[in-house]
């Protein structure tokens, strides 16, 4: 701690703080426009000048480090005059008539200015009016007159890109947007251009943001102090009535967002800074997607029942009675519920309770089957628990990060920000991905292995670590079992074999081993790139082996960190929306668990585990399942499979492909319209807060399920409020025991949270594994189920997309997002493109043994020869549904295809 004096006040701050930060901590206001807590000191606006004893001139407080014994004055007449003069200079380049008008309080919105000056040069029509930092500073400094001539820059407003507009006539060149884009987001899409008084913010060669690598995360818009950068969607909305903090529903990061609400409309969204895990960052989906989806004109507003082949609008009573009547006719084994990982924990809990208690079936599964199931299965085997071992905020502190099978900057952009933070601090990055993903640009090493060969790649890395004695022998000895058997199993992974299988040069495998093992702590981040395979479980086991081998478990900034696809994958699994597990991962097959739940729920439960998602679809075709209740996301469902059903209910926000087949369609409220909790990838349970009333006649999922359960005679569904559901959850799920809505109101809690006093668990397995000791699992390499052959000579791999993020309940493919994605495309290596005689932009058919899709060719040197790639969103019909024997996940990442140049008309 150091102590300094500011304006006569003694201030104690920690070393490394600037004078500005010290003043702020002491509650002393110093005006500034270019300072921002997320950014490195800059000192360009010069408004935060102070006088410091024994220092010449007027140093800027935002750049001057505070030192012990410093004596600072922030408010002398001389400083105020200097600030006024500097502000005057700023205002000669920014419209100011309203800022200096003595009658500005009398002005009313949407009326011409009372001074009869052009309204476009005043504040009234500025999108940031009321939120503008320049207004704030001008008020503080109290500027009354501008004596220097005003120079309007006369720049055209840049409207070419989606989501936000750039009006550099309002820009004061504080550089915050450029700095956040470079320092925090690592994108560098914008920069300063020209110099002197011609200096401007712009893109390389004046191209559009889309062309310059912008990912539309909106960080620049959030950080802009003036109206220069403003969302198009809320340009004319004015100030919000209230802000509601909630949890983003788009991916497992669980960013905290502030919804800006005006007259029962969400007009804007901004990421929460203080105390939130996302530290003021978000991505295009959360930042710009929400108002568009919530208020989309195609939202379902009324329940509908199919009569004479047509869906007709009915009342809730009619719809629910219809469902109750129909479902009561089937036996438990004839019914299945397919739920969704976008539902809240409370929704999920009552959904599986409905299935088990009322419908007497364990046939309940959800999207996690398609991304997270191998994680649960395999990590439970290795560590006795299946979740991310560490926290997102720790990633930035890692010395090495191995990112495998996930394009983080597209799937989980805010985790990408953390990865870039680690790199910025000197951390090493190894990317293993067949596809040249954005992070490859930042990587010390990029391993471009063939899809589906991860076990061999990781096996090779581990073999090198052991051969070179780089493993953590003490950790292995003290905390792990079966090391010898595991070591034996690596015999087959000599570097020659590994290179043959994976296509990665031996030297790179050895280098990866050296970096990963020698830079501690090292974190592994993986995603559906390795889980969506018929041996996805093996891939996860290999990762667990690697982490244990180097002792990277139970330490800050280390660990095994899976990133699931949808936002509440973790929570829905925790809640037992799975055929074989009750809430809290208590096995259906375990009689003690069954008895526990039978006594809690006051009923007898089905003893046999139910069917998984892919098995349900197969059972429908066999005629075994006759009625299906689908909730939320239908992205993964094959429409054809559902056609053989007797009875289908679809509950969601939009009329989807599934709901068009349904007998009853129920309109669900969005996350903005209900209370509840989501559990993010790092096991953090966070509140979802209601910001507006449900749109039209839509209702929250938990309400619908409880209504239905009661109609079917179910007991224990008389909840008035999701907090009551959470109360019941805490009695049955030990890791949620200490959680309540009241506690969550002050911020999320990471499970295990075992009592009301427990503050949650950011890092798992600090002392021991849940089962006592970690278990190495010996592995063999198994090739993908389908390999390229004469008929289907190419391997297709799939990717999630930043802009097309899962169909269904919260689809972001609508409106301006579609501009960014541009429809289905297939990426082809230039070598293959020449071989196939196809060119960039050409329309082709991508054909597999299961079907075909049309797509536009994108020739890019981003994949190994012989591998093509599509967004999973568009490739649903052709991927290989063969499943992993343990976790039952289908192999979406690898299948054989051929590309046919056809007379197809591309419809994008």
């Amino acid at each position: 701690m150091i102590s300094l004096t500011i304006d006569g006040q003694k201030v104690k701050v920690s070393e490394g703080m600037t004078v500005y930060e010290a003043a702020k901590a002491a509650g002393i206001y110093i005006p500034t426009l270019c300072y921002h807590p997320y950014l490195t000191p800059y000192g360009a606006c010069r408004l935060c000048v102070v006088e410091i004893d024994k220092m010449r001139g007027f140093p800027t407080s935002c750049t001057t480090p505070a030192s012990d014994g410093m004596v600072v004055s922030s408010d002398t007449p001389q400083l105020q005059e200097l600030r006024r003069d500097i502000l005057e200079l700023i205002l000669t380049e920014h419209p100011y008539v309203c800022l200096t008008c003595e009658r500005k309080q009398d002005c009313k919105p949407y009326r011409a200015s009372i001074r009869k000056v052009g309204v476009t040069t005043g504040c009234q029509f500025c999108p940031k009016n009321g939120r503008c930092e320049l207004q704030e500073v001008a008020n503080y400094i109290g500027i009354e007159e501008i004596t220097l001539p005003y120079e309007y820059k006369e720049l055209p407003i840049d409207r070419a890109d989606p989501f936000f507009e750039r009006d550099y006539n309002l820009c004061i060149l504080c550089g915050r947007c450029v700095r956040v884009c470079q320092e925090v987001r690592g994108a560098g899409a914008i920069a300063f251009t020209y110099r002197g008084s011609e200096a401007l913010i712009g893109t390389a060669f004046g191209r559009s943001l889309q062309e310059s690598g912008c990912q539309f995360c909106g960080a620049c818009v959030d950080i802009c102090p003036t109206g220069a950068l403003a969302e198009r969607g809320r340009k004319w909305e004015g100030l919000a009535d209230k802000q509601v903090v909630t949890t983003c529903p788009y991916c497992g990061v669980g960013c905290q967002l502030e919804l800006e609400v005006k007259r029962d409309r969400v007009i804007g969204v901004s990421p929460k800074g203080d105390g939130a895990l996302n530290r003021g960052q978000a991505c295009v989906r959360g930042r710009f997607g929400i108002p568009e989806i919530v208020h989309h004109p195609q939202r379902l507003r009324t329940p509908m029942v199919k009569r004479n082949g047509q869906l007709v609008e009915v009342t809730w009573d009619e719809a629910l009675d219809t469902i109750a009547n129909r479902l009561s006719k089937y036996k438990g084994e004839e019914i299945a519920i397919i739920s969704c990982a976008e539902c809240t924990n409370e929704d999920s809990y009552v959904i599986q309770k409905l299935a088990r208690v009322v419908l007497a079936t364990n046939n309940v599964d959800h999207y996690a089957r398609l991304c997270h199931a191998p994680t649960i299965a395999s990590l439970s085997q290795s560590f006795d628990g299946g979740a991310m071992t560490n926290s997102i905020a720790e990633i930035g502190g890692a010395s090495c990060i191995l990112v495998i099978g996930v394009n983080i900057t597209a799937s989980h952009p805010v985790v990408g920000v953390e990865v870039k933070r680690a790199i910025g601090r000197g951390g090493k990055l190894i990317v293993a991905n067949p596809h040249r993903v954005e992070l490859c640009r930042f990587a010390d090493l990029w391993l471009q292995h063939r899809p589906g060969t991860e076990v061999a790649l990781l096996g090779g890395i581990m073999r090198v670590i052991i051969d070179q004695g780089l493993m953590d022998t003490a950790f292995i000895k003290e905390r792990c079992d079966r090391f010898d058997a595991f070591r034996e199993s690596l015999n087959g992974f000599d570097l020659g074999t590994v290179e043959t299988i994976t296509g990665v040069p031996q030297s790179q495998v050895a280098e990866a081993a050296r970096i990963y093992a020698s830079c501690q702590p090292a974190s592994i981040i993986y995603g559906d790139g390795i889980t969506q395979q018929c041996h996805g479980g093996d891939n996860v086991l290999a990762i667990a082996n690697l982490a244990m081998l180097t002792g990277n478990i139970g330490k800050p900034s280390a660990g095994v960190n899976p990133l699931g696809g949808l936002n509440n994958v973790q929570g829905a699994c925790d809640m037992g929306v799975m055929p074989d597990l009750y809430p809290g991962y208590q096995a259906v097959a375990d009689s003690a668990s069954k008895e526990r739940f039978e006594s809690a729920w006051g009923c007898s439960l089905e003893a046999a585990p139910g069917l998984t998602l892919v098995e349900i679809l197969q059972a429908i075709q066999r005629g075994q399942i006759k009625a299906v209740y689908v909730i939320g996301s239908d992205a993964v469902l094959n429409r054809e499979a559902l056609k053989g059903l007797d009875f289908l209910v679809s509950q969601g926000m939009f009329l989807s492909e599934v709901s068009q087949l349904a007998d009853v369609v129920l309109p669900a409220a969005s996350f903005v319209e209900k209370e509840g909790t989501f559990t993010n990838a790092e096991r953090r349970v966070q509140l979802v807060r209601k910001a507006i009333e449900p749109i039209g006649g839509s209702r929250p999922d938990w309400w619908i399920i409880c209504q239905l359960a009661q109609r079917l005679g179910g007991r224990g569904f008389d909840f008035n409020d999701p907090s009551q559901i959470m109360k019941e959850i805490t009695t049955l799920v030990p890791s949620y025991k200490g959680i309540s809505f009241q506690r969550l109101d002050g911020g999320g809690l990471q499970w295990p949270c075992i009592s009301e006093q427990h503050s949650g668990t950011p890092i798992l397995y600090l002392e021991t594994f849940d089962g006592g000791r970690g278990k190495f699992v010996p592995l063999d390499y198994k090739s993908p189920a389908e390999l390229a052959d004469g008929d289907y000579p190419l391997i297709l791999t799939t990717e999630p997309s930043l802009y097309y993020f899962h169909a269904g309940a919260m689809e972001v493919g609508l409106g301006e997002f579609s501009v960014l994605n541009g429809g289905a495309s297939v990426e082809v290596n230039p070598v293959d493109a020449i071989k196939l005689g196809i060119s960039d932009g050409e329309a082709v058919r991508v054909v597999s043994r299961r079907g075909e899709v049309e797509a536009k060719v994108k020739v890019a040197d981003v994949l190994p020869v012989g591998v093509v790639s599509m967004a999973l969103h568009f490739a649903q019909g052709i991927v290989n549904p063969v499943i992993d024997p343990v976790s039952k996940i289908p192999e979406y990442k690898v299948c054989a295809v051929k590309i046919i140049r056809g007379e197809v008309v591309y419809q994008g």
């Binding site: 360009a44 606006c45 001139g57 007027f58 140093p59 008084s197």
Partner: protein, 640 residues
């Protein structure tokens, strides 16, 4: 060995080995010295005379008179040599011993031919320490540098001195940063040495961007090893293992010679690992700038090396604590480094004996503008401004009156005639409102408008501002707008006060040295030449007859002979008149190009340039007045 053709009668007959040095500095090369060098080699070879070596050097500093040839060891000095002169130099001088007098430097005042460079006043009054080898050794040969004692200081340092002793010696010498700020060099090294951190960097700032300044360029071109030696010594003293020379890309020859010198130093084990078995490792990497003036500012320069946009940042933290890539960094100017080997070699006491109490050693200036002699000069600190201009510079050309000297580059100040007795050192210049800067010195005469000069320098600095901080980016633009308005004759009452106020704001409020000093030319011209400002603002008059909008051309009716020369030359068709008719300039059409003034025969001198006054002219052409003089009457203008 004497050649048989030598004329024994000649007083300059020479029997030893002579070296003919052709200057291959940028100035002389642009004057054709490369061709001269080749021609000389051919000629000497074919003349079959013994004992003559042909070699080249870097800049002598007297670029104004280039291309230059220097014949050593006797020191004959040929100026403004052309390829055609080579046979004569070889045969007359080298073979027969008769120097070519017409190629000697001729004193502009006396007209006397001066055969030896050391007698030329331009050189005679200088004290060349930093420039000691410039023009005397081949910059592309490390052997030449070694032969004049090069790297001797380095050996001394490595063999006999601890880093602390080196720093102490430099501190004792009183050497101050020659980049312009004048911070004591030894102290700067001490800070960096004391900064925590294993990795430290050393940077040589060769991003010389001042208009009219070429000190660093000449040193890098003429004596690159002295800079490298200085850097190695500094690196040893500080504990830096990686050095950078940041050189302007606009100096291709300097870049080329640096590359050669760095390679030679590496080959001799003077750079690299374990230098001279001292266990000390040091590398130097050459970085080329991309033409931004602001990259000469140390923090901007470091941003540029890091591959980012050159935008200065605030200090503290100072580079000595957190510089390049956040590591302790020492950055010095080319001239500072070039001074170091001499200081070590000759001792701090010797160096400190030169100069004044607070400004030790010598200063290098690029003397340009309206002096008889111009070029690169090195003088002891404390010499008077007048001595530089009149003794070394030989006074103002065409006998005009000295008006001002602009020192310190575009952000220095303009010193008037009353300051000619002022000593030239850091403190005196700062006190006078100017600065030492990196060493630009532009001398202007009575034909220069000081408002226009201030406008010119400010237009440079405002265009070269990086655009980061508000006062520099916006403030200089407003200042420039006002100056432009004044020079256009649209000055408003209060403009001078407005300028003063803005200048103070930019000075006090700007982030880096560029902004903090940019107002200097404006402030000093207002301080010393306020009457010129008031003439512009209040009387709409430019006393120096420079500001186009404020001057007019008239044809005096009593002098015009109606020769029609000006009428035909006028590009704007603004002159009316006929043969033997008084010509009249249509003031609305006149574009003030001055061609009428230029072409009017001097014996008539009928065209006048005025500002703020009107000359009575007839409203339409009238017959010319017949001159009363006999000669005038018969004088027929040369018409076609």
């Amino acid at each position: 060995m004497a050649s048989r053709t030598v004329d024994k009668e000649s007083p300059f007959a020479w029997s030893g080995v002579r070296t003919v040095f052709v200057c291959k500095g940028t100035g002389c090369v642009s004057g054709g010295s490369e061709e001269i060098y080749q021609a000389l080699k051919r000629e000497v070879e074919s003349s079959e005379v013994d004992g003559i070596k042909v070699d080249f050097t870097g800049c002598h500093g007297f670029c104004q008179r280039g291309p230059l040839i220097d014949i050593e060891p006797d020191g004959f000095f040929y100026t403004e040599v052309k390829v055609e002169d080579i046979p004569e130099i070889v045969h007359s001088h080298l073979v027969n011993g008769y120097p070519v007098e017409r190629l000697f430097y001729h004193d502009p005042l006396t007209g006397k031919a001066i055969p030896y460079y050391r007698d030329i006043t331009f050189y005679a009054k200088q004290q060349r320490i930093v420039l000691r080898n410039c023009g005397h050794i081949n910059p592309e040969k490390i052997e030449d540098y070694l032969a004049v004692g090069g790297y001797r200081a380095l050996k001394k340092v490595f063999l006999d001195m601890t880093p602390e002793q080196v720093i102490e010696e430099v501190k004792k010498s009183g050497l101050r940063g020659r980049g312009g700020a004048g911070f004591p060099t030894g102290q700067k090294w001490e800070f960096c040495r004391g900064a925590p951190g294993k990795e430290k960097y050393l940077i040589c700032n060769g991003d010389e961007g001042d208009p009219g300044a070429f000190m660093d360029r000449s040193i890098l071109e003429a004596d690159p090893h002295s800079v490298i030696e200085g850097m190695i010594i500094a690196a040893y003293a500080i504990g830096a293992t990686q050095g950078y020379i940041y050189c302007r890309a606009e100096y291709p020859l300097a870049v080329e010679r640096l590359k050669i010198a760095l390679k030679q130093a590496e080959e001799r084990g003077l750079l690299g690992d374990n230098i001279l078995d001292s266990n000390f490792d040091f590398q130097i990497e050459l970085k080329e700038g991309a033409g931004a003036f602001v990259c000469g500012e140390e923090t901007g320069l470091m941003m540029s090396i890091e591959g980012r946009r050159g935008m200065p940042r605030s200090r503290p933290p100072f580079p000595a604590i957190s510089g390049l890539w956040g590591k302790p960094t020492n950055i010095n100017n080319v001239k500072s480094f070039a001074s170091v080997p001499v200081i070590i070699d000759h001792g701090a006491g010797w160096y400190a004996s030169i100069g004044t109490e607070t400004s030790k050693g010598t200063a290098v200036f690029a003397l340009t503008g309206k002096t008889q002699n111009s070029g690169l000069i090195e003088v002891p600190m404390g010499i008077s401004l007048g001595d530089i201009i009149y003794e070394i510079g030989g006074g103002i050309i065409e006998g005009k009156r000295f008006k001002a000297a602009q020192t310190g580059g575009p952000s220095g100040g303009c010193l008037p005639a009353s300051m000619l007795d002022q000593p030239v050192d850091y403190e005196s210049l700062t006190q006078a409102g100017s600065m030492m800067g990196s060493g630009g010195m532009v001398v202007v005469d009575e034909d220069t408008c000081m408002v226009d000069l201030a406008r010119y320098f400010l237009s440079f600095t405002q265009a070269e501002s990086c655009g980061k901080c508000v006062p520099c980016r916006v403030g200089t633009r407003h200042m420039l707008n006002i100056l432009e308005r004044i020079t256009r004759g649209e000055g408003q009452p209060g403009d001078i006060e407005r300028l003063n106020k803005l200048a103070q704001l930019v000075k006090n409020g700007s982030l880096c040295g560029l902004g903090q000093t940019a107002p200097n030319p404006v402030l000093t011209t207002i301080r010393y030449f306020r009457d010129e400002y008031t003439a512009h603002v209040d009387e709409k008059r430019c006393p120096a007859l420079v500001c186009t909008e404020l001057i007019s051309y008239y044809i005096l009716p009593d002098k015009c002979q109606g020769c029609r020369i000006c009428l035909r030359d006028c590009p704007a068709g603004a002159i009316s008149g006929g043969k033997r008719m008084v010509h009249i300039i249509d003031q609305d059409k006149c574009i003030k190009c001055g061609s009428c003034l230029d072409v009017c025969p001097t014996r008539f001198s009928a065209v006048v340039q005025v500002s703020g006054e009107k000359v009575a002219v007839p409203s339409k052409p009238i017959p010319v007045t017949v001159s009363k003089t006999k000669k005038g009457a018969s004088a027929k203008p040369s018409i076609d």
